[in-house]
């Protein structure tokens, strides 16, 4: 079952690289968070601990419902054109993603060479999600993509934590989820401010502070 979910997350991650428009990107993030929720639910059933259920529920609430709707609300208010402003066209991005996956698998083989395939697969997928999150932040022009990239990286790390160690201590998970939510809100506010001051949200044109 987990393998199915992991492949789902991998596909969604690659889909994220391909999409051109902002709402598609947010929708993609929402689906990826949903799959993440399912993976956590699966772990919860296997380990039968109440804490993980609460964590999963919290994850569902924060990452699937609250943050995406907030982002969509922002996009409607900013009314800026919805193109993502790509540095690398989708084809090149995909090739880069494959290269990142290969790198993640080499990295994981250094540590988890002998452990069972499920954990190894989860490790590779989570590291790939982190790297793709990083990729989106570096190679997309819009401010929103940087927020989404950040959230995707956090998703990857959350997947890593729950996959290889069965989840962090309960309170830590709660604190991290809350923190991610606050981070999304604040970066959203700043994006709104950029739009008000600069009338665009192309981050690559923000280069006054040099040297």
């Amino acid at each position: 079952m987990t393998l199915f979910l992991l492949t789902g997350i991998m596909i969604l991650t690659y889909a994220m690289l391909v999409c051109q428009r902002v709402p598609a990107l947010i929708q993609n993030f929402r689906l990826q968070s949903l799959f993440l929720f399912l993976v956590t639910l699966d772990f919860a059933f296997r380990q039968k601990e109440a804490g993980i259920f609460v964590v999963a529920g919290l994850l569902l609430l924060v990452k699937v419902v609250l943050i995406p709707s907030f982002l969509n609300h922002l996009v409607k208010k900013i009314r800026v054109d919805e193109r993502l402003g790509l540095f690398l066209n989708p084809l090149l991005s995909l090739i880069a993603a494959l290269f990142l996956t290969w790198g993640a698998s080499v990295f994981c083989s250094w540590f988890l060479g002998t452990s069972p395939t499920a954990v190894f697969a989860a490790f590779v997928v989570s590291i790939t999600v982190v790297l793709v999150g990083f990729f989106i932040m570096v190679f997309r022009m819009k401010a929103l993509t940087q927020i989404v990239g950040l959230l995707v990286m956090e998703n990857g790390i959350f997947l890593l934590a729950s996959a290889i160690t069965g989840g962090m201590p309960f309170f830590v998970e709660i604190a991290i989820a809350f923190d991610v939510f606050v981070c999304a809100i604040i970066t959203g506010i700043f994006m709104y401010r950029i739009n008000k001051v600069f009338t665009h949200i192309e981050v690559h044109r923000l280069t006054d502070l040099k040297g």
């Binding site: 982190v130 950040l150 160690t165 201590p169 604040i186 970066t187 700043f190 001051v197 981050v203 502070l209």
Partner: protein
């Protein structure tokens, strides 16, 4: 109970400053931060004399290292707050700031101070990560306080780059958590527990985890290749805030790096971390030195000098002998005090001349004599001139380095320090001395601002000439924690 109060008082201050009117808000803030400073001092004395660890409710834990950092943070908070009172009053009178914004500033300031005070006290590494992330978010609004193009851009870069760094640090924390769980079947992130079991951990995994921690928290600490956000954030933030950013925020993330370094040293020996620290330290000092030469903005100059001093502290940690660690802690304290002094003076100068450009600021001695004196003392102390603290801590670090036999790094450090000295003198001596431009008339500072300057200068000279025994005891026990016996 002590720890509980140290954490709760700033939170109360947040609530109070949201509610109280302008007049009493200042007094309340000062009282709160004064109380925190006193409590920090009491905590330090109790730890050095007593058992060495103070715990409260499983969540908060303070040993010598965290007591020192709490003391450092509360000191700079107090100084920054004392300075921001007259600084803001001038802005409000000049109309650049509405009373509402002033209230917003106080709330944000207290939130920022509270989050920073919490970081050294949290035992759980996960909680520590969250606290460090919160400091970024709290200070983001302070960096972007004025709604101008430059400050918004600076705030955006600050938030994004630091969040990416922090995320990498989270990845490192998870890897440490995995290493602990895999090796000792105990699923915990409490630093004290991990420390007791650290010797059995898988060395290679811990090494990679430490790399992520070093790059992650290093971004927040302003180490060289990841320092790019620092000059923008410090030059655009309000002066008291940039003093806090430079003086203390960088050190909180350094504190986190030290915590993880202690675990890694126990797991795989000190050689791995010291080589990394020495490389990053020297690289930071080199990059800061070169960038300082080409600066034209007063506050960016001071920001790069912060990068340089963080580099020195990390280099000293890399040297690793008890004397070097003592020197690096002492350097952290000196740098915090000196940098806040210089930033306050810079703030006055920038406001007086209404420009950040060094070419337009000259003849400060004639325009604002007291600020010029403070700036000169701060400058001379920054570059390590004798009567001030940094000369002593630099001497300790270098002598530890020579004793350990690291001649090449020491020589490189001396060369880069000379470049930094030349750069700072080249820029600031032209702006402090000389004739003031026509348009600027002779100005006087508020009395309380003068009081802040005088107390900081006295503290600097005091630290430079002799070391008070309680502080020495605290630093010795902190260095014993990190580098073992020997001092």
């Amino acid at each position: 109970m002590l720890l509980f109060w140290v954490v709760i008082i700033p939170v109360l201050a947040v609530a109070l400053s949201a509610v109280l009117p302008a007049r009493s808000r200042g007094a309340a803030n000062l009282a709160a931060h004064g109380a925190v400073f006193v409590l920090a001092a009491v905590l330090a004395c109790r730890i050095t004399s007593g058992t060495g660890v103070v715990v409260f409710g499983g969540v908060l834990r303070a040993d010598a290292l965290s007591a020192f950092f709490v003391l450092l943070i509360s000191l700079v908070n107090l100084a920054a707050l004392a300075y921001s009172r007259p600084y803001l009053r001038e802005d409000i009178r000049a109309g650049a700031l509405s009373p509402g914004q002033a209230r917003g500033y106080d709330v944000l300031f207290n939130v920022f101070a509270a989050t920073m005070l919490v970081v050294p006290l949290l035992d759980n590494l996960g909680h520590m990560w969250v606290a460090v992330e919160l400091t970024t978010l709290a200070s983001a609004f302070l960096v972007g306080f004025y709604n101008t193009k430059a400050s918004v851009e600076a705030a955006w870069k600050y938030v994004i780059i630091c969040s990416v760094g922090i995320t990498l640090a989270l990845l490192g924390t998870v890897l440490v958590y995995y290493a602990v769980a895999a090796q000792t079947a105990v699923k915990t992130l409490d630093w004290s527990v991990i420390m007791s079991r650290a010797s059995g951990l898988n060395p290679r995994l811990m090494g990679v985890a430490f790399l992520f921690i070093l790059v992650g928290y290093g971004t927040k600490a302003g180490l060289a290749p990841m320092h790019t956000w620092l000059p923008d954030a410090h030059s655009q933030a309000l002066t008291p805030v940039s003093a806090l950013l430079s003086g203390v925020l960088l050190k909180t993330s350094l504190y986190a790096i030290i915590r993880f370094a202690m675990i890694t040293n126990k797991a795989m020996g000190a050689d791995f971390t010291s080589r990394l620290f020495i490389f990053f330290g020297l690289f930071s000092v080199a990059v800061a030195g070169i960038f300082l030469l080409a600066q034209k903005d007063f506050k960016r100059l001071l920001a790069y000098s912060s990068i340089e001093h963080v580099g020195i502290i990390v280099f000293a940690l890399g040297v690793g002998t008890p004397l070097a660690v003592f020197g690096s802690m002492f350097h952290a304290l000196n740098h915090a005090v000196t940098k806040s002094l210089v930033f306050f003076a810079a703030g006055n100068a920038v406001k007086k001349y209404k420009t950040h450009h060094l070419h337009m600021i000259h003849g400060l001695v004639q325009a604002l004599p007291f600020t010029a004196a403070a700036a000169l003392v701060g400058l001379l102390s920054l570059v390590g001139m004798p009567p001030f603290g940094i000369f002593m801590s630099k001497l300790m670090i270098l002598s530890a380095c020579f004793q350990k036999g690291l001649y090449a790094p020491a020589a490189l450090l001396l060369f880069f320090l000379a470049v930094v000295f030349g750069a700072l003198m080249f820029h600031l001596s032209a702006s402090i001395f000389g004739n003031k431009p026509k348009g600027i008339e002779f100005g006087k500072e508020a009395l309380s601002m003068k009081l802040v300057f005088v107390s900081l200068i006295l503290l600097l000279v005091f630290l430079g000439v002799m070391m008070p025994t309680p502080l020495q005891a605290l630093l010795v026990s902190a260095s014993r924690l990190i580098a073992g016996e020997g001092l």
